[in-house]
């Protein structure tokens, strides 16, 4: 499922939050979306997911209509005050095929997604009882249970410890390549994006400042423009860039 974004813009009242975004993401590819707070990352994902009115076009394999199997969009906020069990929340990922009697295929898909993320033990717990990180895993399981053709993930690992970050990003990467998904993920952690993504889209004040392989985008000049900080960029043991923020130079 090739996703094409053409001339996409979003305006909130007088403020132009996104303008002139042009992107192409291929099947089997992970694109990380980076940028400072308020750069428009989440708005871009919401616009592509179809829950944010926008100018311009989003094309799915060249067509305007969204794929029949749907897209797996995981927003940032996690509903908490809900008396639904984790199993039910994950099962909702299969909403398109759920009937009054739940089919065995839907139950099996929910069970498989829970197992894939290692949270079968949480299945009978209520969503409101879970920690932020656990809820993030539950909603990721919900997205995967829907067997979507594209993943749009808004900060999927922001509440996770380092072990779960590695596990979840690895799982998303493998699922993307194995199932031929098209994945866009908003991330805050630049180094995680460098490890995990095939390409990085860097947003700066609602514009696409750069889009390309991590080694090309993660350079001091572009990161200074996007975040307003000085960084040193080194090469990690896997040959990918490692970004180290430098302390500001104090003038005496």
């Amino acid at each position: 499922m090739r996703i094409g974004v053409h001339g996409l813009g979003v305006r909130f009242g007088a403020a132009e939050v996104l303008r002139g975004i042009e992107l192409e993401v291929a099947p089997g590819e992970v694109l990380a979306v980076l940028g400072a707070n308020g750069a428009g990352k989440s708005t871009l994902l919401r616009a592509i997911a179809g829950v944010q009115p926008h100018r311009g076009q989003v094309r799915w394999n060249g067509a305007a209509s969204r794929p029949a199997s749907g897209i797996g969009y995981m927003p940032q906020d996690n509903a908490t005050s809900v008396a639904l069990s984790v199993f039910e929340v994950v099962l909702l990922g299969r909403l398109r095929s759920l009937g009054l009697r739940v089919a065995p295929a839907d139950l099996a898909a929910a069970e498989a997604a829970l197992a894939e993320l290692g949270i079968r033990g949480l299945a009978s717990r209520r969503l409101g009882e879970l920690s932020g990180g656990q809820r993030q895993l539950v909603f990721l399981a919900q997205v995967l249970a829907g067997n979507p053709q594209a993943l749009l993930l808004d900060e999927p690992t922001s509440a996770l410890d380092i072990a779960h970050q590695v596990q979840v990003l690895g799982l998303i990467g493998r699922a993307t390549r194995r199932r031929g998904l098209t994945t866009l993920a908003v991330l805050h952690d630049i180094n995680a994006a460098a490890r995990f993504a095939d390409r990085i889209a860097l947003l700066c004040d609602g514009r696409l400042a750069a889009c390309g392989p991590p080694a090309q985008v993660l350079c001091p000049a572009l990161l200074r423009a996007a975040y307003g900080v000085e960084v040193a960029v080194m090469t990690g043991p896997d040959g990918r860039p490692v970004v180290l923020p430098l302390p500001p130079v104090e003038n005496e």
Binding site: V51, P53, V82, S85, L107
Partner: protein, 350 residues
């Protein structure tokens, strides 16, 4: 938890609803057996079975008690169901047709019809038209109040919070208009308006109960068809939309359903608070938020609450029937408090 244990939990939830249905059957029987006439239960059963020749007994049982008992259960079911739907689509635990001005709209409509009837007395022989004018006006104005709130929902960017505010504005609008009518009304018309607003099952008839039943039969399957989409809506508008729910269209469908359920319920018995607010909470504590279970359970607990209130309205002071609207909260609050204290804060709203 495996799928098998989730299915087992579903069976337990159905069991809870079945138990409540059993309690409703018992309450329904008690409702038939109680009344100012102090009839022995055996006589009531004989009359229901059609083997009694006592004309007075048959008239009391068939024309008074049976319509009241049936109407209490049906109106309670309609109010419980509409409360559950409103709380879900507005994502608010305080939402009900009473708190969001739909009942107030019905009250205003009824008062308007009572005043018009007093100002333009109908000639003899027009009594049936007069008897239907008040419920019809109440139904239409309940629909108007619902349409006002739903119209706000069609605004671009309307959130559940905005809809709740619109409902509260609607409540104050119709309460003010109702106060104005009461201020202008003659003492006789004012007495009629106040009695209507109390809510009373004494206006019940089997014909009217059949209309409430028909609306329930039409609306329940439509709501159950949307059960999973309503469950998804509890995760928030954005997440529901991402799962494929057309949130605006779903809300509109539900508003139409709520309008019909509430309109037909309050039109025939007057404004009854508490049931629409609390029955869904009781159901949610006992069966969770899977709307396939919550919607039927809310209807059954609504029916049970109003049926028990109907019995209580006749036994608090023997020989006197209190207006049901006064009794519902008196009966329901202690039960609800007990449930909250025993079950803990498992209602899903924190």
């Amino acid at each position: 938890m495996s799928a098998a244990s989730w299915r087992a939990r579903g069976a337990r939830r159905s069991g809870v609803t079945a138990l409540a249905l059993g309690a409703l059957a018992a309450s329904f029987a008690a409702d038939l057996a109680t009344g100012p006439a102090l009839l022995p239960i055996g006589d009531v059963l004989r009359s229901l079975a059609g083997i009694s020749d006592d004309a007075m007994l048959n008239a009391i049982v068939h024309r008074l008690r049976l319509p009241i008992a049936v109407m209490a259960a049906l109106v309670g079911a309609a109010l419980g169901l509409s409360g559950a739907v409103m709380q879900t689509i507005l994502n608010n635990p305080l939402a009900s047709s009473y708190t969001l001005g739909i009942s107030a709209g019905a009250g205003f409509g009824a008062a308007l019809a009572i005043l018009a009837g007093a100002a333009l007395p109908l000639p003899r022989g027009w009594a049936p038209a007069e008897a239907w004018a008040v419920p019809l006006a109440a139904f239409l104005f309940a629909g108007l109040a619902c349409a006002l709130v739903a119209a706000v929902g069609r605004l671009r960017g309307a959130t559940p919070e905005l809809l709740v505010l619109a409902g509260i504005a609607c409540l104050f609008l119709f309460q003010s208009l109702l106060s104005l009518l009461q201020f202008l009304a003659s003492p006789e018309a004012l007495q009629q308006i106040v009695f209507w607003l109390f809510g009373s099952l004494m206006r019940a008839s089997l014909g009217r109960a059949a209309i409430v039943a028909a609306v329930l039969l039409a609306v329940v399957p439509l709501l159950l068809r949307d059960a999973w989409r309503l469950t998804a809506l509890r995760l928030g508008d954005e997440r529901a939309a991402a799962l494929g729910v057309r949130v605006g269209a779903l809300r509109l469908r539900c508003f139409v359903a709520v309008s019909l359920l509430t309109g037909v319920a309050v039109a025939f018995v007057g404004t009854i608070g508490f049931v629409g607010l609390v029955a869904p909470h009781i159901a949610r504590m006992l069966v969770g938020e899977d709307q396939r279970h919550l919607l039927p359970a809310s209807a059954v607990f609504g029916a049970l609450l109003l049926s028990v209130a109907s019995v209580a309205s006749k036994v608090i002071v023997p020989g006197t029937v209190f207006p049901i609207g006064i009794v519902t909260a008196l009966v329901g609050v202690p039960f609800f408090a007990w449930l909250v204290l025993v079950a803990g804060p498992r209602g899903g709203w924190r």
